[in-house]
């Protein structure tokens, strides 16, 4: 019997704003790959050039932490098979962006499509020992070769779960895992695209036998009848895979959740967490939620929603993020933003983006956390923090305390749309924004698809890639302003 106080405390999700129409991808490639027609339906969430698994993770984490005290967190993990850094703690960057305490554990989970659930199981099992909440984020931005099935199927997304001990919204009833080196696809380190094996074999031997078998075993292990499952969340996006697996296990078809393929796409390592978040949005107290994830074996987790789920503060979640999508059909821009199509960028793009580690370390709170300063004498808020305050009536020295600005609403004070400077997404919109309660920053704007930009527009801050150092394969992260929605 598991501790009824252990489980999920909150969830969050993030989808990039743009939803690329699959018909646009197919239209460009049908001359070469007419057999893709069957996949050319619906849309998929596509990250902008300034997003990656880290930045999307930050946004999902912010959503999950809505209304919570971040100082309470005990650890965080980031699961992804598309982490920007092979050797630099990716979740460490997320930690700085979330302005979490230094005294916190962090780990990256990777290597398989089920790394998200594997990290989640570890966190849940550890919750008995570690009473502080643990943030489990999954985020993936998977590239795919042009004119491939993956290109039509894959989508970019992130989701996060806060797990631990306390007033859980879904209590953890147990988990079951199997590990088998079943190579339905693989991607060697440093390689962009997956190499997949025949879909019929993957479905019959992998999805139905390995994943389906794990599901049946899990129900037996946990002593739960198939008919008790109210929400069957199967994070396998192959057509009909979820219903087929559920049927074999005896789970009612109406309990099987939509795999979100038509609207988001297969979000890889993030998909199981994303689907679980979507299920939690619908779950009512007392309902049982089963999550099945697949990747060189399978993970099965079982939860039961509690009364607390009804009083969780409102957040974007999956449904809210879906509603914020903007339909786009610019396939060329998508290829360019994925670094698949090398457009001529001009000499201005040659600017050296080398990032000194020393400067970044000294200023990590300001640069990665958007922590400004507040003068304890005058109350003046400013960014960045400085030794001598900016208040023209009192240049007080040594009086500034940390003042986080990332969650403070802002408004446009001045702006332009610059067509001369290099931007991967021209024109480059930027300008000064004023924070409610004081503080000002001149920053780039992002996520402007379909937005009207004018002085006074309400903005929010989002964590993004500022520039890429292509020479040294590094990313500069900073904050940008996006329309508040």
């Amino acid at each position: 019997m598991t501790d009824p106080k252990i489980g999920i405390l909150a969830y969050g999700a993030y989808l990039p704003q743009r939803r690329l129409q699959r018909s646009a991808i197919y239209a460009a490639n049908s001359w070469f790959a007419p057999d893709l027609r069957g996949l050319a339906k619906g849309e998929k969430a596509v990250a902008s050039w300034d997003e990656d698994a880290i930045t999307m993770a930050v946004e999902a984490a912010r959503d999950a932490l809505t209304g919570l005290d971040r100082a309470e967190l005990g650890s965080l993990s980031l699961a992804s098979t598309t982490l920007p850094f092979a050797d630099r703690l990716n979740s460490g960057v997320v930690k700085e962006a979330l302005n979490l305490n230094d005294a916190i554990g962090a780990s990256d989970a990777t290597g398989s499509q089920r790394c998200g659930t594997s990290a989640l199981i570890q966190a849940l099992h550890g919750a008995a020992e570690n009473r502080k909440p643990q943030l489990c984020i999954a985020s993936d931005l998977r590239k795919a070769a042009p004119a491939s099935g993956d290109e039509l199927t894959n989508g970019d997304a992130s989701a996060a779960l806060l797990v631990g001990h306390g007033e859980v919204i879904a209590r953890f009833l147990g988990a079951h895992s199997v590990t088998i080196d079943f190579v339905d696809h693989f991607r060697a380190s440093g390689v962009d695209f997956d190499y997949g094996w025949e879909a019929r074999w993957v479905r019959q031997e992998g999805h139905l036998k390995i994943a389906g078998g794990a599901l049946t075993s899990a129900l037996e292990d946990l002593g739960v009848a198939a008919g008790e499952i109210d929400h069957c969340v199967i994070a396998i996006t192959g057509r009909g895979a979820g219903p087929a697996i559920a049927k074999r296990a005896g789970i009612a078809p109406e309990a099987v959740h939509d795999p979100l393929v038509a609207t988001i796409g297969d979000a890889g390592a993030a998909h199981s967490t994303l689907m679980l978040a979507a299920a939690l949005e619908k779950a009512k107290p007392g309902e049982k939620i089963l999550l099945l994830d697949f990747g060189q074996g399978a993970d099965v987790l079982l939860f039961e929603a509690t009364e607390a789920i009804a009083s969780l503060p409102s957040r974007n979640g999956v449904a809210g993020s879906l509603a914020l999508g903007k339909s786009v059909d610019n396939y060329m821009r998508y290829l360019f933003h994925r670094c698949i199509l090398p457009l001529e960028r001009g000499a201005r793009a040659e600017f050296d983006q080398k990032q000194p580690s020393t400067t970044l370390y000294r200023n990590r709170k300001g640069v990665l956390g958007l922590v400004g300063g507040r003068c304890t004498k005058t109350g003046t808020v400013q960014f960045p923090k400085s030794e001598i305050g900016v208040n023209p009536n009192d240049h007080a020295a040594g009086t500034q305390e940390d003042y986080p600005l990332a969650e403070v609403p802002a408004r446009i004070m001045s702006y332009t749309a610059d067509r001369l400077t290099y931007s991967p997404d021209p024109p480059a919109y930027y300008g000064a924004v004023d924070f409610d309660g004081g503080g000002r920053i001149t920053v780039e704007f992002t996520d402007l698809e379909g937005a009207d930009v004018e002085v006074g527009c309400e903005m929010k801050m989002v964590f993004r890639i500022k520039a890429v150092d292509e020479m040294r394969h590094n990313y500069r992260y900073f904050w940008k302003a996006a329309p508040r929605t």
Binding site: T421, Y430, I441
Partner: protein, 400 residues
């Protein structure tokens, strides 16, 4: 209250190279071109120069560090040469160094040279450059037009001016400067343009179109200064003297505070007020008869008319449309074509402005000479961007 610089220093001679795409010339040749004219005008030998200041804006594509390139180009007599950089206000900064050296008595004759060799960049516009390791992490890597274009958005919001009205006023600025530049043989751009051309030009940074942006040029300009007494001893009679020389540098308030609305330059306002006090000018709209301002972009010229206390706040755009600053207007602005058409070799621009004012005061401006030379001629040289800048104001006039 400082005693000020008024009438303590006279201009002995000035020179200016032909601005433009000088594919034929290196920076040292441009400096020699400006210097040859200036030293001839001054009627002295190189060996009589006691100290020199060199202004350059962009190191990376230019002459490299130190004052050595000036000393080598002119074969100066191993005198002190100080290199200065203060964004696009570097030229006036070099002039200030030379003037202060003479005023202090440390030098009898001093030289200010500004030079920029921009057309070795390989692309149009100004080069992209670092602003320090910390700033590069948080600052926008925008273009110069993008930085100044924000003035227009903020100005419209502050003064409730429609986008069309402001765009027409900005276009008038450029049409006027092209008309003036066409009459200047040393100007980079010498082609007349009309309003439709400006209004329909390709967008660079909204709302600035191609013709709202100044030329990016190679060039050099040079001033030789001394005391009025020494000038007279060298046989000079009609002396152009320095009436005021002021600089105001942002301390971060515009960028980091919240009191500034983005529609004006507090630094220009301060530098102008201090300069008028120094020169003894009480009614600038009436007393300043000639203006050379830092029209890097048309919108900058519009708001600068207000910041120099010539136009009332919110009315600069109307004064522009009324023709007040046209060559035949009450107070001509950019009668030599300005940055817009004379060109903008960064380090040279501040000295080029003073060069035109000097010529106009002495009646030596050729086809573009004002019939009645002004009492005071003002130059305004701005570096940086609206939210973080260096504003320089220099006023010259005939010695009283």
């Amino acid at each position: 209250m400082p005693r000020g610089i008024k009438d303590k220093v006279a201009i002995l001679g000035m020179g200016c190279a032909k601005f433009g795409e000088r594919w034929d010339a290196d920076a040292d040749q441009l400096m020699v071109e400006a210097f040859t004219e200036a030293v001839g005008d001054a009627g002295i030998e190189t060996s009589q120069i006691d100290a020199a200041w060199l202004a350059v804006g962009f190191d990376a594509v230019n002459i490299g560090p130190s004052g050595i390139p000036l000393s080598m180009a002119l074969r100066l007599n191993n005198i002190p040469v100080t290199k200065v950089e203060n964004y696009c206000a570097s030229g006036t900064e070099a002039f200030r160094g030379a003037v202060y050296a003479v005023a202090s008595g440390a030098a009898d004759i001093a030289l200010a040279m500004g030079v920029e060799k921009l057309k070795d960049i390989g692309y149009g516009g100004l080069p992209v450059r670092t602003r320090g390791t910390m700033h590069d992490m948080i600052g926008v890597t925008g273009s110069a037009p993008g930085n100044f274009a924000q003035l227009a958005a903020a100005y419209r919001a502050e003064h409730k001016v429609s986008a069309d009205d402001l765009k027409r006023s900005m276009a008038h600025v450029s049409v006027k400067s092209h008309a003036n530049g066409a009459k200047n043989p040393k100007a980079h751009l010498r082609k007349l343009i009309d309003m439709d051309t400006v209004l329909n030009a390709p967008m660079i940074a909204e709302p600035l179109g191609l013709f709202d942006c100044c030329g990016v040029s190679d060039g050099a300009a040079c001033a030789i200064v001394t005391t009025p007494e020494i000038a007279r001893s060298l046989g000079k009679s009609d002396l152009v003297s320095v009436k005021a020389l002021q600089l105001s540098v942002s301390n971060g308030w515009e960028m980091q505070g919240t009191g500034w609305n983005g529609s004006y330059f507090p630094t220009t306002r301060l530098a102008a007020s201090r300069a008028y006090d120094e020169a003894g000018i009480t009614d600038p709209r009436e007393e300043v008869g000639l203006l050379e301002v830092h029209d890097c972009f048309s919108i900058t010229e519009v708001v600068t008319m207000e910041d120099l206390h010539i136009s009332k706040p919110g009315e600069g755009w109307k004064d522009v449309l009324d023709g007040m600053f046209d060559a035949d207007g009450k107070s001509p602005c950019q009668i030599d074509g300005g940055l817009k058409c004379f060109g903008h070799p960064i380090g040279a621009s501040g000295i080029r402005m003073i060069y035109e004012n000097y010529l106009q005061l002495l009646g030596r401006a050729g086809e573009r000479q004002r019939a009645e030379p002004p009492k005071y001629a003002l130059s305004h040289n701005l570096g940086g961007m609206p939210n973080q800048n260096v504003a320089a104001v220099a006023i010259v006039g005939m010695e009283d």
